[in-house]
């Protein structure tokens, strides 16, 4: 965290905001470690079909007679299951690698889309005020009071089950958090002198919104954003626990945990434990990056 007080390195070339950002980010070893772990996880997820010993989505490769094998056992098909198998005989290692994919798509996908939608609407509400503000904020009220599970059930009924539909459900559930947060900070910022100055210069609204107002609303947004990625992944797990998540034959980490948890009492810990570890590492690495990112991006910490 020494970066916050350190002066920017003297650059031989011209200093762009991006370069400064990169160098400030790189100064923190923990954050770089987080980034490294996250990159490895992302690579694992992207190249899952070439890395995983088994295709856990292909029912023909599974056999319930291999079900709940403890870690290290060799299954009927000759594969050594280093992390054991679940109740369907699915290799846990393969399941986790493929599950990472689904969880990342769901978590990051929904957080990014929800952030874009929510932040734009929040900014608009704060800047435009009046009717627009009221309309958007009542929409937020409506959204925030709508139980996640009911929304997910309805979307499930309309669209059917699937990874993409879970993303849509999460976006619908989460955009309001961003909108409300951004509006809150923007309301304060809007009164500041630099916005008034920009308005006096008759800059276009979109420029004022995105070049002046938005960067100053970023810090709380990033706090919420990193939390929401983690939350989206956990929420997807909860939806799976309630039987509303992704399809059972294409389990995410959350679904693997939820499914495996039922076997916890009987001592088949590995079905739930290893996906849990994977989920934890993923979320922690995202948050380590996010934490530091927030400090780097916060204009108010640069005095």
């Amino acid at each position: 965290m020494s970066d916050t007080t350190a002066s920017p390195p003297v650059a031989a070339k011209e200093e762009t905001p991006f370069r400064r950002f990169v160098s400030e980010f790189a100064a923190n070893k923990v954050a770089v470690g987080g980034l490294l772990v996250f990159v490895i996880i992302a690579l694992l997820a992207i190249f899952a079909p070439w890395i995983a010993p088994q295709n856990p989505y292909d029912l023909a490769q599974l056999d319930i007679m291999d079900g709940r094998l403890p870690p290290g056992e060799v299954g009927g098909s000759g594969i050594t299951h280093w992390l054991g198998t679940d109740d369907q005989g699915r290799d846990m290692l393969s399941g986790i690698i493929y599950g990472l994919r689904i969880s990342l798509i769901v978590g990051i996908g929904s957080a990014v889309i929800a952030c874009l939608v929510g932040a734009s609407l929040g900014l608009l509400a704060a800047y435009a005020g009046g009717r627009t503000d009221s309309f958007i904020m009542r929409l937020v009220d409506l959204q925030l009071s709508f139980p996640t599970i009911l929304a997910a059930l309805m979307i499930l009924a309309f669209l059917g089950k699937g990874v993409f539909n879970v993303v849509i459900a999460l976006v619908i559930v989460e955009w309001a958090y961003y909108a409300r947060t951004v509006r809150g900070s923007a309301l304060v910022e809007r009164r500041r002198e630099y916005i008034e100055a920009a308005q006096c210069l008759v800059l276009p609204t979109s420029r004022i919104l995105f070049r002046h107002l938005f960067p100053n609303c970023l810090p709380p947004l990033i706090v919420i954003g990193t939390i929401q990625i983690a939350r989206a992944i956990a929420l997807e797990a909860t939806l799976s626990f309630l039987g509303l998540g992704v399809p059972i034959t294409e389990p995410s980490l959350g679904l693997l945990i939820a499914n495996g948890f039922e076997y916890m009492l009987s001592g088949n810990y590995w079905i739930s434990f290893y996906p849990g570890i994977a989920l934890l590492i993923t979320i922690v690495s995202i948050n380590l990056m996010g934490d530091h990112l927030r400090d780097v991006l916060n204009p108010r910490l640069k005095k």
Partner: protein, 324 residues
């Protein structure tokens, strides 16, 4: 101010109306309540009778008009499952959920604020790093998983706390409350903590970042320069400044805690509104779903209004808008 309030109330009514339409269409899209409620061996005649008895034989728009008519008289309908007034059912369940939600909020502020303050004031210390790592765990772990783990450890293994359910209740104002008995508290502890876990992390993070920002602000620097004691600086100047985001989030989270305590209530067999709504969704008990959402929306609107008013009180830079 009055104009502002009136406007907000009018807008809120629109929200309520929109919500009821969404629920009607949504429940209609999900499935047929009679298919779920009826005994499997009921014949076609019995099915038709049940459909008519629940008023589901009318076209959807007519069902909605009937609902609106009754709603204007304050009658939100009868539960398909319990044959009791939906609103009454919800109000009977409300104390249990309120207890849980307030318990969780209380815990999150009680634990989150001091830890966050510490982490913000001494960001480099080992203690802060442990706190921040812990807070990451707090919102990484799915609620249901933590809940079942708590039961495993504290009820099954150690036997310290009861595994589920609500404890002894005392009747106040015609409603049953359990927070006044020791037995009630022992039942409340685990579910409240389970529900609070996420919020504790949230409060820690918000407080920490707020403190860190505030410490760099000119007015804090001046206060220090003036020779004010660090305690006074922290608790008067810094504290006041970080309250805005914390108040916003705690306010917002109180609503969502009440609305989304579903998972915790299911795992701990806590007889609150969350349990009622998930049960009602599972059997498509539309009158209860509609009434529940009406109550929740009203609650949210109220909370948001209070948060907005608090904003203007806490931060004079924000003014309540009344212009069109």
């Amino acid at each position: 101010m009055t104009v502002y309030l009136l406007r907000r109330i009018l807008q809120s009514l629109m929200v309520l109306l929109a919500m009821s339409v969404i629920v009607f269409v949504g429940v209609y899209a999900i499935g047929d309540p009679v298919e779920i409620l009826i005994s499997p061996d009921a014949d076609q005649m019995e099915r038709e009778r049940a459909i008519a008895a629940l008023g589901l034989d009318l076209p959807l728009w007519q069902q909605y008009l009937v609902f609106l008519q009754n709603a204007l008289r304050g009658d939100l309908g009868r539960s398909f499952v319990f044959n009791e007034l939906a609103l009454q059912l919800i109000l009977n369940r409300m104390p249990a959920t309120l207890e849980l939600a307030f318990g969780a909020m209380f815990l999150s502020v009680l634990i989150g604020l001091p830890l966050g303050l510490y982490a913000g004031l001494k960001p480099e210390s080992i203690g802060s790093r442990v706190i921040m790592a812990g807070s990451i765990l707090g919102f990484s772990l799915p609620t249901f998983w933590v809940g079942l783990m708590l039961i495993m450890v504290f009820a099954v293994q150690l036997g310290w706390l009861p595994s589920s359910g609500r404890g002894d209740t005392v009747e106040i104002l015609g409603l049953q409350w359990s927070f006044l008995t020791a037995n009630g508290w022992s039942h409340l502890a685990m579910p409240a903590f389970n529900l609070a876990l996420f919020k504790i992390s949230l409060v820690i993070r918000l407080t920490r970042s707020g403190v860190r920002e505030a410490m760099l602000m000119d007015y804090v620097k001046f206060a220090r320069a003036k020779g004010l004691s660090p305690t006074r600086v922290t608790f008067v100047h810094v504290f006041k400044n970080i309250l805005i985001p914390v108040v916003t989030v705690v306010g917002l989270e109180l609503g969502s805690t009440i609305a989304f305590s579903v998972v915790t209530e299911t795992i701990f067999a806590w007889p609150g509104m969350g349990k009622l709504i998930i049960d009602s969704i599972n059997v498509l008990d539309r009158p209860v779903i509609v009434a529940y959402l009406m109550v929740i929306v009203l609650m949210f609107i109220t909370i948001n209004l209070i948060v907005d008013i608090l904003y203007s009180v806490l931060d004079p830079r924000v003014r309540l808008e009344s212009k069109a």
